[in-house]
């Protein structure tokens, strides 16, 4: 029977946040790319919370941007409120979060995809991946290689690389009470065939679960009973390429309300009707965004929980109830939402639901997000067991870049834990055993004082430029910024301020004690109450510098001691990362390895001694043994 047959360089399965970044990356790097989605209308859809960024996630968006990705630009063009979180805390944990107009966000991303050369968008369900045994068979390469995909209608698409970005759609089902829909989010068609094809290719799958709250008609809410939450006065954009002056828009408000004893009573009394507690749901849910049922059960002493009420866009009446996801039956949902102050007459537009889906065990991937056993097959986003739009986008761009590097036979891009949250995210996914959907958190980043959202461009632009995603113009701008920062730091270290009356007066006005002897500007900045910016009056010869350069100078000088300590730790970390283990290293030839360590090493096949050290069950003594063995065989 005749069928459609086409060839591309790269196939991307899924057009969510991971798929969009992956496809844009490969197409922009000149590779012919086709992106499949079950519905063209759901490109870059935000099926859960209506915002981008937040603690540690905001860092990821900045990093995607520094590599030449789209998420930052897209939200800058479609946000309706913006806030820098943690502003009272250290610069490392400042995090940008913007409320999105969901429909606009999705449409804008779709337009970008449509305008991109080399990129074809196709609505179809991919049912099968096609692989063949590696022809070389020389033991140096993976067992299999990817050659293309087959869709449900039977069409065949050949490709050199395939990127799986199937999100929560694999064998998805949505549940509330005893109502079960065999669909993806928002009633979209689930992908019901691909899981089996993955299993047939010896890929191990997990079953995960997550959930979303109900959406309430804004006309049914009494806002006078809610606390208003406004955005920042001066808005800071996500993308380093966005001119801050262009994003100072009129913002919408969010609101805050609380659950109460009555809410909790209703939930407790109906627990047996929740599929989470009746045993219908098999998947593992995330601890960081528990359903309201989980909160009430696990924290019985808490008298109330905060609920943020957020608009889903400018052209919809729907309000998102952050903090109150649930899989309770419809009637209970009505009861419990109506206990919230201001929600006495709430009208539900969409029910809250839990969703179960298949994802892969990400331990099967390299840090490039390519499967260790299938050359050319990559996976990114929620199908890797992560959660969140930002985590997905970050993996998406990395997988896209590495698919392109593979095809172009260039050096792959691996970002390590000391270079970015993206590095922490990927390393955690591929090296640690995952038991729940993975969310980025600042506490996961051990070098977080260095991995700030304000310096993502300084950290990662070199990679974006090297692979070809970041323009020379943007890269040159970063290099110039770096030069100016360095020069200014040197200057303020050498310029001293005397103890004149004028200086004393100025210091007192800033709440600081007068000087008894001369002091360098740098030393002054280290006083907690002073900043580089605030001591400008004491520094008449200061050159004119942009706000972003001034900010970097301030942070570098003010927190110098802490930053230097982290830099030392990073040097130690890099020492072990640089000790590479060959890809097909045979651990059975190493004598004296403990059995547990041998099994773990064979399972994970770490790329370096550093990565090996992070595998649970591998001890420092095992690493020493491995090092001695590798050294012994080095000279052979």
């Amino acid at each position: 029977m005749p069928f459609v047959e086409e060839s591309y360089d790269v196939i991307v399965i899924g057009a969510g946040h991971a798929g969009c970044e992956a496809a844009l990356a490969t197409a922009r790097l000149g590779l012919s790319t086709i992106i499949f989605t079950v519905s063209i209308d759901s490109i870059a859809m935000m099926p859960c919370n209506p915002n981008i960024g937040g603690t540690s996630k905001g860092h990821l968006v900045r990093e995607v941007d520094a590599l030449g990705g789209q998420m930052g630009i897209n939200i800058d063009q479609t946000f309706i409120q913006s806030k820098m979180l943690n502003k009272s805390k250290g610069p490392a944990v400042h995090s940008l979060r913007a409320q999105a107009d969901k429909a606009a966000y999705s449409m804008r991303m779709r337009e970008t995809l449509q305008r991109t050369d080399n990129l074809t968008i196709r609505q179809a369900e991919v049912a099968e991946i096609m692989t063949e045994n590696d022809k070389d068979g020389d033991g140096r390469h993976a067992k299999k290689r990817i050659v293309g995909v087959r869709t449900f209608s039977g069409a065949i698409y050949h490709a050199k690389a395939v990127i799986l970005c199937s999100g929560v759609y694999l064998n998805a089902r949505c549940l509330y009470g005893d109502t079960i829909n065999e669909t993806g989010p928002n009633g979209l068609q689930a992908a019901t065939h691909l899981s089996q094809s993955l299993i047939d290719n010896e890929i191990e799958l997990y079953r995960f679960k997550t959930g979303t709250p109900a959406r309430i008609d804004r006309r049914s809410i009494d806002f006078s009973k809610l606390e208003k939450q406004s955005g920042d006065e001066r808005i800071c954009p996500f993308s380093f390429s966005t001119d801050p002056d262009e994003v100072q828009i009129d913002q919408v408000s969010c609101y805050l309300t609380y659950t109460n004893e009555e809410t909790h009573r209703i939930i407790r009394e109906n627990l047996d009707r929740s599929p989470m507690y009746s045993g219908v749901i098999e998947g593992t849910g995330p601890r960081y965004c528990p359903s309201i049922e989980d909160k009430v059960v696990h924290f019985p002493d808490k008298e109330r929980h905060q609920i943020f009420v957020e608009p889903e866009g400018l052209h919809t009446n729907e309000m998102y109830l952050s903090g109150m996801s649930s899989s309770m039956p419809e009637d209970v949902q009505y009861q419990m939402y109506r206990t919230l102050p201001g929600f006495e007459h709430a009208v539900i537009v969409r029910n809250a639901y839990a969703i179960e889906y298949d994802c892969i065990n990400p331990n099967q991937l390299k840090a490039t997000l390519e499967f260790k056993d299938i050359t050319g097959f990559f996976s990114a986003g929620q199908s890797n067991g992560s959660s969140g739009y930002e985590e997905a986008a970050a993996q998406g761009i990395l997988a896209g870049i590495n698919a392109a590097m593979l095809i172009k036979e260039e050096e792959p891009l691996v970002i390590d834990r000391s270079e970015g949250y993206l590095g922490v995210l990927v390393d955690d996914l591929v090296t640690k055993v995952t038991t729940e959907p993975y969310r980025m958190m600042t506490s996961r980043a051990e070098y977080r004082l260095l991995l700030r959202q304000d310096n993502a461009d300084l950290r990662l632009s070199k990679y974006g430029y090297r692979v070809g995603l970041l323009s020379k113009e943007r890269y040159d701008h970063v290099c110039e910024k770096e030069r100016l920062i360095k020069k200014e730091i040197e200057r303020i270290r050498t310029v001293t301020v005397g103890s004149s009356e004028q200086v004393s007066l100025c210091l007192s006005s800033l709440g600081s004690v007068p000087l008894t002897h001369g002091m360098s500007l740098a030393e002054l900045i280290r006083r907690p109450e002073l900043t580089y910016q605030s001591i400008a009056p004491l520094d008449p010869d200061r050159p004119i510098l942009s706000d972003e350069v001034q900010e970097q100078v301030n942070i570098a000088v003010k927190y110098e001691g802490y930053i230097e300590r982290q830099i030392k730790q990073v040097e130690e970390f890099k020492r072990l990362e640089k000790k590479k283990i060959p890809e097909n290293f045979d651990y059975d030839t190493v004598p004296s390895l403990r059995i547990e360590a041998r099994q773990k090493l064979k399972q994970f096949r770490p790329a370096s001694i550093g990565q090996a050290s992070r595998i649970s069950g591998v001890s420092p003594a095992d690493l020493t043994v491995l090092l001695v063995f590798m050294e012994a065989n080095h000279g052979k």
């Binding site: 603690t55 250290g90 943020f308 958190m441 506490s443 190493v590 004598p591 004296s592 001695v628």
Partner: protein, 458 residues
């Protein structure tokens, strides 16, 4: 591939009143030794020379020593190496090693000198395998023995301190990750109080260590047996056996007495010795109830049987209580005519396969065998336990000091008005360092604590 840091360890085993050697290897070896040594100048001394002097640290005179100097690359590791010959007592070796570590050396990992010798090309390629075996064996041994040494209340105390640190870190992290749900106002002041309390606790532990008592708690030992089998004389013999450390510690209850006995460096803590003495009272029938109470906590039970009298139901009764315990059966009064032999013992009591040692508390016969057996039971007898005890002790003290340093940095950050996220790094360092003492890693502890204690999320 030269390593960048300098390592130190005890190179000899422990020989009572003999010589102990502390070996230092690495780029700073000579500088460190020179800084501690009085009466000789090593800085310009030629390689392969021996120097006489005194080791002094923090103003305290520690020991009279001979120092052997070997310059790179004419040493075992091919690095600059100094060997300090000091007195062979555990205390002297420990003090010298501590002084060396405080001057900037790091305690060597098990097998590390040999590893360096190999990596620096000093040892032949074919020896690599034995190096790897050595590293694994020594590590496993060190792990077991250090955990064995640290038991009971000390472990509990350290776990409690760690729990406090972890919980406070988790609170900060929860607030950083979810600022709209958790507020840090007023937190620094609370944290300061907690950190000061933890520091005080650590000071108290360190003080105990400084007083000469080892950090280790020893093997908790109970002596059991029916009346008149010679428990008292066994205890007295053990106490008198060595000129070793013997201390009386009043227990928590008035009639519980503990004695510490050092047998060739193995520390036995004999609990409820009061009970032992009492049971010698012939009026008392079995009279060992108090000792029985101690059985659940004991690491080792010394079950004393009178070899000169036939076994009685009382012996049976005692043996029935000792299931699942580490038990050594002592056939006492071997100097008298033997009514009970190992064979009859195996036949008549319910415990089988246990080590049995014939002793005479009166003459001291069999006590060497007793020591070897204890060493075998607890430390597999394959490597000398004694130096490990000292090293473990030094390691634990180092960890406690580092913990204190990290906590001091937390206090500095609080005082300097730094934002809360700056505390976390040092809090977690302190937590990790305390974990080294009790053999626990950090892994996902922080993340788990955040989710267990704080309700997160959207």
């Amino acid at each position: 591939m030269m390593e960048r840091d300098t390592i130190a360890a005890i190179a000899t085993g422990f020989i009572p009143s003999g010589i102990g050697i502390i070996r230092i290897s690495g780029p700073q070896a000579i500088e460190i030794a020179d800084g501690l040594l009085e009466g000789a100048d090593l800085s310009n001394a030629p390689s392969h020379t021996i120097h006489y002097g005194m080791i002094r640290s923090n103003g305290e005179l520690i020991d009279e020593v001979l120092v052997a100097l070997m310059r790179s690359s004419r040493s075992y590791t091919t690095e600059d190496t100094v060997e300090i010959d000091c007195h062979g007592s555990p205390l002297a070796m420990q003090k010298v090693l501590e002084a060396v570590c405080q001057s900037g050396a790091r305690l060597a990992e098990p097998g590390e000198f040999t590893k360096r010798a190999f990596l620096n090309g000093r040892i032949d390629l074919t020896e690599a395998e034995s190096v790897m075996d050595l590293i694994q064996a020594k590590t496993e041994y060190a792990r077991k023995s250090s955990l064995q040494i640290l038991r009971g209340s000390m472990k509990e105390k350290i776990s409690t301190l760690r729990k406090t640190l972890l919980n406070r870190s988790a609170y900060i992290e929860a607030a950083l990750d979810d600022p709209e749900h958790y507020d840090l106002s007023g937190f620094p002041e609370l944290l300061r109080t907690d950190v000061l309390t933890v520091q005080d606790e650590i000071d108290r532990i360190l003080e105990t260590a400084e007083n000469g008592r080892l950090l280790s708690e020893g093997i908790r030992t109970v002596i059991l047996g029916k009346p008149n089998v010679g428990k008292s004389s066994l205890l007295n013999r053990l106490l008198g056996e060595e000129r070793a450390i013997v201390t009386d510690i009043a227990g928590t209850t008035r009639d519980t007495l503990e004695e510490q006995v050092m047998l060739d460096g193995i520390l036995l803590k004999i609990i409820d010795t009061a009970g032992i003495q009492n049971t010698e009272d012939p009026v008392e029938k079995i009279g060992v109830e108090k000792a029985f109470d101690c059985i659940p906590d004991a690491d080792l039970v010394l079950f004393v049987v009178d070899a000169s009298r036939p076994l009685s139901p009382e012996d049976q009764q005692i043996s029935s209580l000792l299931k699942d315990k580490t038990v050594l059966i002592l056939l006492n009064k071997s100097d008298l005519s033997a009514e009970v032999t190992k064979e009859t013992l195996e036949k008549e009591i319910s415990l089988t396969g246990l080590p049995i040692v014939s002793i005479s508390s009166k003459t001291g016969d069999g006590f060497d065998q007793l020591k070897t057996t204890i060493s075998d039971v607890f430390f597999h007898g394959n490597i000398s336990f004694n130096d490990e005890l000292v090293v473990t002790n030094v390691r634990q003290k180092e960890s406690l000091r580092k913990t204190k340093e990290s906590l001091s940095r937390v206090l500095e950050s609080i005082d300097a008005g730094m934002p809360e996220d700056f505390y976390s790094v040092d809090l977690i360092d302190a937590y990790a360092e305390l974990g080294r003492i009790i053999g626990e890693k950090v892994e996902e502890d922080l993340i788990n604590e955040i989710f267990a204690e704080f309700c997160m999320g959207k």
